[in-house]
């Protein structure tokens, strides 16, 4: 029972933190310089790892799709498979995983260290709200850069798939690209972007919450960091499933309504 109460308490504190940060952003936005620095850290510095992940995933997807589909005469669907998979599922999820590992962990460790060395208290003692100075810039930067990184990851995946399909399996470029305008919809693109936005919120808020509530010195920082990465991965996976179901149901419902009209 005590554990359930403690868990509910943590969830309550976490949700309160999110609302407080949104309130701060709407009423007294943080300094642009802080947001820019965070965007550089989260976005620009993540480009290489996101590029490698996206590109290699696109290559593997193209190879697997070609192997599975070519004997059924569907090799021309390879481009579509790669693009659709990257846009709606793999792009957002893999980017979120990479950002969690590279940025979320570092963010949690940095804030955790600041917490145990009383630097966060020092910020408070100088009449500065640490949520405004530390969390809000990271939050804004996260929700802007995650969708951008996801688009970049999808592009890299498509390029990787294209390279394998055209130069290894000798498909013509037209075979790879022609089905795309017909079958890739605006919904595919926006659902991927929305997922990336949601994952950005999840990664930053969990990492910041765990960092800001770290206790127990260096060991506590280590525990909080591991913990935040594990929680992020779990929430991203569960969230991805729920978002896929919810968004597709909404899309189908709205489409049927529009058709009825």
């Amino acid at each position: 029972m005590k554990k359930v109460v403690s868990l509910l308490n943590v969830v309550g504190e976490y949700i309160t933190l999110i609302f407080k940060v949104i309130w701060i952003i709407l009423h007294r936005p943080p300094n642009w310089r802080l947001i820019r620095d965070q965007m550089y850290d989260i976005g620009v510095m993540s480009l290489p790892v996101v590029a490698i992940t996206g590109f290699s995933t696109g290559m593997v997807l193209a190879a697997q799709s070609f192997f599975q589909l070519s004997d059924k005469g569907l090799a021309s669907a390879t481009g579509l498979m790669v693009t659709k998979a990257m846009m709606v599922e793999l792009g957002p999820v893999l980017t979120a995983f990479m950002v969690t590992g590279r940025v979320g962990a570092a963010m949690c460790a940095e804030l955790g260290t600041m917490r145990v060395t009383e630097q966060i208290d020092a910020i408070r003692s100088m009449a500065v709200n640490p949520l405004r100075h530390l969390v809000a810039p990271r939050f804004i930067a996260g929700i802007i850069t995650l969708p951008l990184l996801t688009v970049f990851s999808c592009l890299m995946g498509m390029i990787g798939g294209f390279v394998v399909a055209v130069y290894y399996f000798h498909m013509t470029p037209n075979d790879f690209l022609d089905p795309l305008p017909l079958h890739i919809t605006t919904f595919d693109f926006t659902s991927g972007l929305f997922k990336a936005f949601a994952f950005g919120c999840i990664i930053i808020t969990i990492a910041c919450y765990r960092g800001m509530t770290t206790k127990g010195g260096a060991a506590g920082v280590g525990r909080a960091t591991t913990n935040s990465v594990v929680i992020c991965y779990t929430v991203i996976l569960i969230g991805n499933f729920l978002l896929t179901i919810a968004m597709n149901n909404c899309y189908n419902y709205i489409s049927s309504l529009l058709e009825a009209l």
């Binding site: 940095e110 009383e118 630097q119 208290d121 408070r124 003692s125 100088m126 009449a127």
Partner: protein, 264 residues
């Protein structure tokens, strides 16, 4: 105006019947304290009795379970968050581990408050004030150093410069000399005294270092079992015949002598 009202008016910090618990651990048990304007009150006591917790309550970093804290006539514990941040602007704290921001150099650390709260201030004025503050703590031309490049004593002095630069009216010191050699500790004590005089600040120093307490305090208080057990002007405090206090003072003096012999 009654005599009590006159006295109350002179007290910049008033702590009344403060209670604070962490889970099952009751740290503060109805602590009361009044700090007269422009004076330095040193709170002595054994480690782990909640001396630092008291400072966090005064600064509004934590809220009490019961009781209140009043600074400059404003009840910190009854305010909402934004009012509390506004009230804290005239206060400052020197943390036990200095708490300099790792990601900034010394100059940026010291300029932090000015950049956050004074939007009209020019960059050259900030630089001037930072240089003055650093000179005041004998850390001239250290602006570009990172906190990790500084020794313990230098970090404490840089943290003190971070306070001096915005001239707070209330300064709280959490174990300012802990972990420092006697010479550096003496230098920090001198800086605390000179800062107090320069800014006419009201200060609370939490320590278990009796030498430091004697050097910086006008009033001494003994914190025991979650309460202020004894509070008196320095001389009266040191001459007290109270058995528990006498025991603490005797032990503190013995420890002091031993440490001095060891250092020598």
């Amino acid at each position: 105006m009654t005599e009590t009202e006159k006295t109350k008016e002179k007290n910049i910090i008033v702590v009344h019947d403060l209670w604070k618990a962490y889970g099952d651990l009751q740290v503060l048990k109805g602590l009361s304290l009044e700090v007269p304007q422009g004076s330095t009150v040193v709170i002595l006591g054994r480690s782990g009795v909640g001396k630092s917790v008291l400072l966090r309550q005064i600064l509004g970093i934590e809220l009490p379970d019961k009781g209140f804290v009043e600074v400059n006539g404003l009840q910190i514990s009854a305010m909402n968050e934004s009012e509390r941040y506004e009230a804290v602007k005239s206060m400052g704290m020197l943390f036990q581990g200095a708490a300099l921001f790792d990601s900034m150099n010394v100059g940026e650390n010291i300029a932090f408050y000015l950049r956050q709260h004074d939007k009209k201030i020019r960059e050259n004025e900030i630089q001037e004030r930072v240089a003055d503050a650093l000179e005041g703590v004998n850390l001239k031309d250290m602006q570009k150093k990172m906190p990790s490049d500084l020794s313990g004593g230098m970090r404490k002095r840089a943290a003190l410069a971070r306070l001096i630069v915005y001239r707070p009216k209330v300064i709280l010191y959490d174990e300012p000399t802990t972990g420092l050699d006697p010479i550096t500790a003496h230098h920090i004590n001198e800086l605390i005294v000179s800062t107090q005089k320069k800014l006419n600040a009201t200060s609370i120093v939490v320590t278990h270092d009796l030498k430091s307490a004697v050097e910086v305090g006008n009033y001494l208080a003994f914190h025991n079992d979650g309460k202020i057990y004894y509070f008196a002007p320095k001389k009266e405090f040191l001459q007290s015949q109270d058995p528990m206090l006498a025991d603490f003072l005797a032990n503190a003096i013995l420890t002091e002598k031993y440490l001095q012999q060891e250092t020598a």
